[in-house]
């Protein structure tokens, strides 16, 4: 079902699953809930991206400069 959602099934398997879905309410409900889940996760990812992260690049640059400085004095 995940591979169906990710469009990673071959044509034949996709058709077979689509046919099964047309007849099986339980699997349609599962597919719908997984689609909702992906929507919720996408929204959570977007919300997380809006939160500020610490200035990591600046911290790493500072540590690299310290490291280079130490080597210069060795």
């Amino acid at each position: 079902m995940s591979r169906y959602l990710d469009d990673q099934l071959g044509t034949i398997l996709r058709r077979r699953l689509a046919h099964h879905l047309s007849e099986c309410q339980e699997c349609r409900a599962l597919l719908a809930s997984l689609q909702h889940l992906l929507g919720v996760l996408g929204r959570a990812a977007q919300a997380g991206a809006d939160e500020p992260a610490p200035p990591l690049a600046a911290a790493v640059r500072a540590r690299l400069h310290e490291h280079e400085h130490e080597h210069e004095h060795e």
Partner: protein, 175 residues
Amino acid sequence: MVADEARLLEMHSDRVYRALRRFGLDADEASEVAQEVFLRAWRGLDRFQGRSQLSTWLYRIAFNEAQRRLSRRRPPPVAADPDGPDPIAAIPDSPDRGPDARALDRELGEAVDAALARLPPDLRAAVILRDLDGLSTDEAAAAVGVRPAAFKSRLHRGRMAMRELLTPYLDAANA
């Protein structure tokens, strides 16, 4: 540090930090691990031929270190109370992201993080890399060091577990 390399660091640093936070590290630990990962990456930049390979390597080192740290801890706290207030049901569909919408999105993020914390680490990493960080299946598989077929299996099991844990929220969002 030249401008291209600085940009490379900045491009990846926030994503790796957020992935570490979602994986279960607190803010200080995530920052510490992310810095170590980028220092190692900086010293080994010559070995990388493309951005994809570098980003996969960064995630791999970061998650290995995160898993090592988490394995020394007690089990994480249990996820959100399904009988409690439902933040997702109240989230507006409008693209207008005012203060209320942002607060609700934060609550949604917390519910997702609490559910992620209950997954085994291999399933958690699969969901984070593919569904939250948006890596391709091949990139995510390389980041956790397994073949794509094995990764797809993990991802499906992870999604099914997340679906189970977030059922009250998904039902409310669907109502």
